[in-house]
């Protein structure tokens, strides 16, 4: 694992060791943070689409009921990467273990939405709008989280999503950019100067009376210009940041490039699909193992890659709902209720579990079949929005949610 400034600060090592014996690559790391984006707080939201099986990701290996209900897909006790004697990580998520030990990674189990829908579509919609049960909400919570503080020279990259289409989470009044690939973010080639076509399109959309396309067009060309001068592609992954192959790793690598290029990213969003394991979920190996490995390795790589910029970064993961506590007849799991959320970041008091564990005894299960929700996902997000991003107007971010006062926070931020 790479040693970074936060580790030094947390352990007080820099003070003890003294600068004369600190290797040059470390001093570089120490001072890099001062040159790029000083003080800017960032929130990165990662969505596991398809309803990840939280019980096989952070395994309650201290519960016999878990093993009773999952005869073929449970993660055996001896394979679990133990965290606190009761919970443990799936063995393919070894990349998370050091982050936990360095106390940067916190885990909230049994978190989720109070709405009881078991439809992917609705549940994702509710989690992304931040208003469970209310379909008429037009914007997403992450957009509202940074709305209302528009400065005249706000960056077009305040809100960035990796992917071809803008996710619901980021829809709203703050202009948000969706991109598949940084390299493709230009018209008529990515030369140092704008092409004739680029200038023409810019003028066309600038003057268009089509209100939707006019707005998007303006945002687009503003962003293109900024990216051209910042040139994020020149930032190669830091030593030790090994992004696995695949779309998710690519997305996070580019998120890191944008942050390092200092284009003003405040919130970023990326997603990873394929968690809907109705059939042959696997246990230590198999479908969930492969996906959990890709997921954790990508996030760990992002963490390493950000280096000292990670100090002001919080990463939150979520999935629309959990899966049935019992395995089904196809060695898979069906749509359930509560799930696990990871919170990783410089200001995070990690290395411990948050939230109340409801238990897996039959009478403790939600509707007799699923892990019960004891922490509303909005409680987790509220704390990050208020105490990290600094937006205290939570009634606007999560309208109708009455547990967004500081006393309801889990206090995972130090």
């Amino acid at each position: 694992m790479s040693i970074t400034r936060r580790v030094f600060l947390k352990n007080g090592a820099l003070a003890i060791v003294g600068t004369s014996v600190v290797p040059s690559f470390l001093t570089r790391a120490v001072y890099a943070a001062e040159t790029a984006a000083p003080g800017a707080k960032r929130l990165i939201v990662l969505f596991q689409r398809g309803a990840a099986d939280g019980l096989n990701i952070v395994v309650p290996h201290g519960e016999q009921a878990y093993y009773n209900m999952r005869p073929s897909i449970a993660i055996p006790r001896q394979s679990v990467l133990d965290l606190d004697g009761f919970f443990g990580l799936h063995p393919s998520m070894s990349a998370f273990k050091p982050l936990w030990e360095q106390k940067h990674l916190a885990i909230v189990h049994a978190a989720g939405s109070p709405d009881n829908t078991r439809s992917h579509f609705d549940a994702q919609d509710y989690m992304e709008s931040g208003t469970p049960g209310v379909k008429s909400t037009e914007d997403g919570w992450l957009n509202r989280a940074i709305a209302g503080v528009k400065e005249p020279d706000a960056s077009p990259f305040r809100a960035v999503a990796m992917g071809g289409a803008l996710p619901r989470t980021l829809a709203g009044s703050v202009p948000a950019v969706a991109m598949d690939n940084i390299r493709a973010f230009a018209v008529g080639g990515r030369g140092p100067k704008a092409s004739v076509a680029s200038n023409t399109f810019e003028a066309m959309y600038e003057q268009s009376v089509d209100s939707v396309l006019h707005g998007t067009g303006n945002e687009t060309f503003e962003a293109v210009k900024m990216l051209r001068s910042a040139d994020p592609e020149k930032y190669a992954p830091a030593a030790g940041a090994n992004y696995p192959n695949g779309r998710f790793g690519d997305s996070l690598r580019q998120v890191a490039q944008l942050i390092k290029a200092n284009v003003g990213v405040e919130v970023a969003f990326a997603d990873i699909g394929g968690w809907d394991h109705h059939v042959n979920e696997g246990n230590v190996q198999g479908q969930i193992a492969n996906l959990a490995r890709e997921f954790s390795q990508s996030i760990a790589a992002l963490w390493t890659d950000l280096g000292d910029l990670a100090e002001n970064t919080v990463i939150v993961t979520m999935s629309e709902f959990g899966r049935t506590a019992r395995e089904n007849g196809n060695r898979g799991t069906d749509h359930g209720h509560a799930n696990v959320m990871f919170v990783l970041g410089g200001p995070v008091k990690g290395g411990r579990m948050y939230g109340r564990w409801p238990g897996l005894q039959p009478e403790q299960l939600y509707e007799g079949r699923d892990l019960a929700v004891t922490t509303d996902f909005r409680q987790v997000l509220s704390e990050a929005v208020a105490n990290h991003l600094g937006n205290k107007n939570l009634a606007k971010v999560f309208p109708g949610f009455d547990k967004s006062t500081p006393k309801d926070f889990l206090k995972y931020l130090g």
């Binding site: 078991r118 006019h214 293109v224 890709e294 007849g329």
Partner: protein, 698 residues
């Protein structure tokens, strides 16, 4: 500065006058400047605008000359004709599609021609034999060798174990750009030997070295190979030892494989591709979808086939679905595209593609014979008394609710259709036993009585008595005729054809027809066509094109000739709309907000420029031919002519003014002292028009 401003005003005036003059005598362009402020909700469209509107909604885009053709025929007659595609000749499209053999194959034939791992395993274990036909045999040998190498790699990797890149093979499979190779459902299922051996962390360095060397030598050999005439090249490949063919596959992966099969006969090309790149052959389906949208005369039939496929979405990357989707679209969706809703619902419910995609094939009633007694042949029935073996492993024994839920939420009632979790569970019981005969080998629908949950079921307040397969048929019929279904389907059709938020009065009228006419989609569309809301001025260009609609309409407007649609398939992958590869059962959104964002807009502009300049691979387009008839007198006239053919003459003043200013740019005017007659760059102008705000809408 004031002088510059004066000039600008003057220029603006000239523009106004010249456009007015240009279009004054032109009846086609009564509505030259689309004026949003004037479009009161009740105002109807003018005649020619009606034609453009209808073409925009019922086809994949207006081609040059379409407006004139429909005007000559009469709009109502044209629409009626489109409602009866069987009466429309489509010979030209058929000959374009003729080389794609997989389109006509049954799922079983697909499996035979492109053996999946299960078949290869069966041959390896002696349970099946190699085919005799030399071409087929060569394909099998190649696949077998690739399969064995993959197995070997897996073992090697298992030995290396938990290093960060131990998963590289699977992850790479996911990163494949071509949509049809996506495999999130089960990475093991996809032949992807091309990425094997590239794993830098594999312990066996010497083996790596050997692979690198082989690839190098393969490079040398194939250089020679490429110089051979196509027929000899084909024979040479067939004669190659299997190992060499594998190396060939590694060298010629992705788009480079095209060079290998260049100019070969279609069947030769298929054989070679099946050997080295089976995904490419399966990609024929995506190519065909684009070619149909672009070239079919049965446009409404295509639009509706697209609509229903998206409604009853199936993801091609999920296991054997890759072999099933061709037959699904051809035999299940297309024949019912303009038919009755109950028929298409019933057909999808019994299709292997859907049964596999939403897991129903594995759903087993908890109290069924299969669950209680296991798969033994004599269990249950013949007077013996086998003991229940609930612990028996390795066979499905439980209820799977996935399909039952989606059928109500997405296919019929809609999410607000008034059903409960209990209804989902009960419907799942009703549908137990609806399964597939040997899904991995291309089998069809089968009702397995032994997997069917016994006893009565209660769905939507209705008691379903015990009738085996008939229970499901009964429930599908109930769902197909349910008022919530009529409303849900009518609204979705109105969203496709009218606007993202269609007027309730229109939806009500369509719902009424749906209920009165037994869910006859043709009649529902007719009702919509004859409704004032469809023709309301604010419906004109109210719909944002999806990436698929945008690409198809751009090619149609350009009159380009597509020899190879794969680059278009790749374009759609980049635009976030890979064909047949929408993973969730929701299908793609057809609302504007899903498709309007910076990245998407840039992709559209870049595609427009590439297409119109004639630089899109696999596409021939002569930019000069974008303007039919005699050459325009000057660049002004050229611009007017291009606006006429690409936007049916209906361009906003803002866009027109910007374009007109650009005519002076040397890259566009191509004005040269030594060649004063050189024509302006029509391709560049056309690309700018196709990237304009107007062209993003339909």
């Amino acid at each position: 500065m004031p002088a510059a401003r004066k000039q600008l005003i003057l220029l603006g005036l000239i523009v106004l006058i010249s456009t007015a003059v240009l279009f004054a005598g032109d009846k086609k362009s009564k509505s030259h400047h689309s004026d949003s402020s004037a479009s009161a909700a009740v105002a109807p469209m003018e005649d020619d605008k009606r034609i453009v509107h209808a073409l925009n909604r019922f086809t994949f885009g207006v081609r040059p000359g379409d407006v004139e053709r429909v005007r000559a025929e009469g709009l109502d007659r044209w629409f009626d004709e489109q409602l009866h595609p069987e009466k429309i000749d489509d010979g030209a499209l058929e000959s374009r599609l003729a080389p794609f053999h997989t389109l006509k194959m049954s799922t079983k034939e697909m499996v035979e021609n492109f053996p999946p791992p299960q078949v290869l395993k069966a041959i390896e274990n002696g349970r099946m034999s190699m085919p005799h036909d030399p071409a087929k045999k060569a394909v099998y040998e190649s696949r077998m060798a690739a399969y064995q190498q993959r197995q070997q790699n897996k073992e090697d990797k298992a030995a290396v174990d938990n290093t960060p890149s131990a998963n590289a093979e699977n992850s790479t499979a996911k990163a494949q750009p071509a949509a049809v190779t996506q495999t999130d459902a089960d990475p093991k299922d996809v032949p992807n030997e091309m990425s094997a051996g590239n794993d830098p962390s594999t312990a066996d360095q010497r083996k790596q070295q050997k692979i690198r060397e082989n690839a190098m030598y393969a490079d040398l050999d194939t250089d020679r190979l490429l110089k051979l005439p196509p027929d000899e090249r084909y024979k040479a490949i067939l004669k190659m030892p299997v190992d060499e063919r594998l190396d060939l596959a590694k060298t010629y992966k992705g788009p480079r494989a095209m060079q290998l099969v260049d100019d070969m006969k279609p069947e030769q090309r298929e054989t070679v591709e099946a050997m080295i790149q089976p995904q490419a052959v399966l990609g024929e389906l995506a190519e065909a979808k684009l070619l149909r949208a672009i070239y079919s005369n049965r446009q409404l039939d295509e639009v509706m086939t697209d609509f229903w496929f998206n409604h009853f979405n199936v993801f091609i990357g999920k296991g054997p679905d890759r072999y099933m989707v061709s037959a699904y679209e051809r035999d299940v969706i297309r024949p019912h595209a303009l038919g009755k809703f109950k028929d298409i619902l019933a057909a999808t419910a019994k299709s292997p593609a859907m049964l596999f995609y939403l897991d129903n094939w594995q759903s087993v009633g908890p109290n069924s014979e299969l669950a209680l007694y296991g798969p033994g042949r004599f269990a249950g029935r013949r007077g013996r008394f086998p003991r229940p073996r609930p612990q028996a492993k390795n066979r499905p024994s439980g209820l799977n609710e996935n399909y039952a839920r989606e059928i109500m939420e997405l296919h019929t009632l809609g999410v607000d259709g008034g059903y409960t979790q209990k209804d989902v569970t009960e419907l799942a019981k009703v549908l137990t036993g609806w399964t597939i005969e040997k899904p991995q080998l291309g089998g069809g629908f089968k009702f397995n009585e032994r997997a069917h949950e016994p006893g009565p079921k209660y769905v939507l307040g209705r008691k379903i008595g015990e009738h085996g397969e008939k229970e499901g048929e009964e429930m599908l019929d109930v769902l197909a005729h349910h008022p919530a279904t009529a409303k849900f389907i009518s609204r979705k059709l109105a969203m496709r054809f009218v606007s993202d938020n269609p007027p309730q009065t229109l939806v009500d009228r369509m719902t009424d027809t749906f209920l009165k006419k037994d869910g006859d989609i043709r009649e529902v569309l007719r009702t919509m066509f004859h409704s004032p809301e469809f023709w309301a001025a604010d419906a004109y260009r109210a719909k944002m094109k999806t990436p698929f609609e945008f690409v198809a309409s751009a090619v149609r407007a350009s009159g380009a000739d597509i020899q190879n649609a794969l680059p278009l398939v790749g374009t759609l992958n980049r635009m976030g709309m890979p064909l047949y590869a929408m993973q969730p059962p929701t299908g793609y959104s057809m609302k504007a907000e899903a498709w309007v964002n910076s990245s998407a807009l840039l992709n559209r502009m870049n595609f427009a420029l590439q297409l119109a300049s004639g630089k899109l691979p696999g596409t021939s387009l002569d930019p000069q031919a974008l303007i039919p008839g005699p050459a325009p007198a000057d660049s002004q006239a050229a611009l007017a002519s291009l606006e006429q053919s690409i936007l049916a003459g209906d361009v906003s003043m803002q866009t027109h003014t910007v374009l007109q200013k650009q005519l002076g740019d040397p890259q566009i005017s191509q004005r040269r002292l030594d060649d004063p007659d050189k024509k302006p760059n029509y391709g560049a102008i056309a690309g700018l028009i196709m990237g304009s705000p107007e062209f993003q809408r339909r």
